[in-house]
């Protein structure tokens, strides 16, 4: 339980209040955005992302609100909601800043921050009101702060999260320094990635594997997202890089292969399993400068069907080859999905009591957030996503920041038990370190 948690401010400063936006349709959701929206709507906020950025600075509630308001003014996507019109989902420019949960919390016991992060992660964002929310959390009275930003996956992916964090700290730095606010070009609503994909294709048939039953059945409304981290420090990363170079393997492929081995060794997946890899399609914007936009959901999932091999190097190479093939044959092709079909599919997932898609990975690479700004120093970063749908047992969230490689194992509780994940984390770390020390 959180002790001595109280709300410092929840009231909009009238000086930064906005005129109410005229309600206006922006565009229909693309296929990937619609999938995210229906996962979110029918699976209790599943797929919404939260980034937690730890930093030190002297920031008042009013300064935080002013910076958040400026951020809202800057990105059109932050002014939008999602509405169902007939059998279609549409983005509408109708989110009013004063109705968006933006607040400052004073936490007397800094250790309670994980409870606050958990609430951000699992409390579904109401897409009828806005597609994001933000909190500034003060940890005790030390000057240590946490910026918590949660957003609906239909408007943002990891790339957008990092861009938004950079602009937020740029604005906040100006606000707390009493400098003039940076002149930022408005970021219009992004084009749906579907428009940049190749010809329409038939829906991809997901390969079958024997799904593992949940450790404990639990209605979706009572589930929580859990997370445990494997952290590799600079010297461990250096040793790993050296071995990877010698074997000519990518870090991503090694982590994926070692994770599959650890999941199998700990009884989470069978020897033949499905493994989903989040694939960024951001590079498709490169073809035309007018498509360039840091926000939007520019991603796809490549589902590979793997026979887990005990030889880590061989298995990593095989996975890499399979992944590339899946990217070409599925991720780059446009698949139109009917609203009614995916609505029904997400309702079915809510009733399942097995991890139908086994496990997965999302590799965000280097977190491109500037570490210091005038008056602000960033010290740590967490990126998590709501996983209560339990279609995956564990999804590994990988990224490096400040010289540390993080592998977050994110999972639905109590569908998967904490101690099972702890064993997977220990096993994965052992495999990676053992490989680096050959």
């Amino acid at each position: 339980m959180i002790t001595q948690l109280f709300l410092v401010t929840h009231v909009m400063n009238t000086a930064v209040n906005n005129a109410i936006l005229s309600t206006q349709a922006v565009r229909k959701l693309g296929a990937i955005e619609m999938r995210m929206a229906l996962f979110h709507a029918n699976l209790n906020g599943s797929t919404q992302g939260t980034q937690a950025i730890f930093f030190s600075a002297n920031v008042s509630s009013e300064q935080f609100m002013k910076a958040a308001n400026y951020l809202y003014d800057h990105y059109e996507a932050l002014q939008c909601t999602i509405r169902k019109v007939d059998e279609e989902l549409w983005f509408y420019r109708s989110a009013v800043f004063s109705n968006i949960p933006v607040r400052h919390l004073q936490l007397e016991t800094p250790a309670d921050i994980n409870t606050v992060i958990s609430e951000c992660l699992d409390q579904p964002i109401d897409p009828n009101k806005a597609l994001w929310r933000a909190q500034l959390v003060s940890l005790g009275h030390t000057g240590q702060k946490v910026f918590l930003f949660s957003a609906h996956h239909a408007i943002i992916d990891a790339n957008g999260m990092h861009d938004l964090a950079n602009r937020f700290f740029q604005i906040l730095s100006a606000v707390i320094s009493n400098a003039s606010l940076p002149r930022l070009q408005p970021i219009n609503f992004p084009l749906a990635v579907d428009e940049l994909l190749q010809q329409n294709a038939s829906p991809v048939v997901v390969p079958t594997a024997e799904p593992r039953p949940h450790d404990k059945s639990c209605p979706i409304n009572y589930r929580r997202t859990g997370w445990q981290f494997v952290t590799l420090k600079q010297e461990q990363i250096a040793a790993l890089d050296k071995a990877l170079q010698a074997d000519n393997i990518k870090l991503h492929s090694l982590i994926s292969a070692a994770l599959c081995q650890a999941l199998h060794a700990q009884g989470v997946v069978a020897a033949h399993c499905n493994f989903g890899t989040a694939v960024s399609l951001r590079f498709l914007q490169d073809t035309n400068p007018e498509y360039s936009n840091p926000l939007g959901c520019y991603m796809s999932i490549a589902t590979t069907s793997l026979d887990i091999n005990d030889n880590l190097v061989d298995f990593a190479r095989k996975y890499d080859r399979e992944l590339m093939h899946k990217i070409f044959t599925s991720c780059l092709n446009r698949v139109d999905t009917l609203y009614a079909d995916f609505e029904a599919a997400t309702h079915r997932i809510a009733q399942l009591e097995n991890f139908s898609q086994d496990a997965g990975i999302t590799n965000m690479g280097h977190v491109a957030i500037t570490e210091t700004y005038p008056g602000i120093e960033i010290s740590d970063y967490l990126m998590l996503a709501n996983r209560v749908s339990a279609n995956f047992s564990i999804v590994a969230h990988c990224y490096d920041f400040l010289g540390t490689q993080r592998i977050g194992l994110v999972y639905p509780k109590p569908c998967l038990a904490d101690d099972v994940v702890a064993r997977v984390a220990a096993d994965l770390e052992k495999r990676l370190l053992s490989y680096s020390q050959r």
Partner: protein
Amino acid sequence: MTALNVIQIEQQITAIIAEVKRIPVTDIQLAPTDDFISKYNLSSMDAVSMSVKISQQFGFGFGQAAEDIDGLASFGALTNLVQKRAA
């Protein structure tokens, strides 16, 4: 499409690698046996981006056949693949 010779294909692929890596084309020096992905530190998504450009430029669907992925093993393998598929 007019049949291209190996040198023309090599030149066009070199230009695509330079574009993906955002470096001058004159900085790319490749022999047929070179593992261009390692040599120029291409990420998986760089490789995918490059292959999409190859598909557009040479008019075939790179990656639709599983063996296409072997074309990413070396500069020579990629040149041979393009020559075969774009014919």
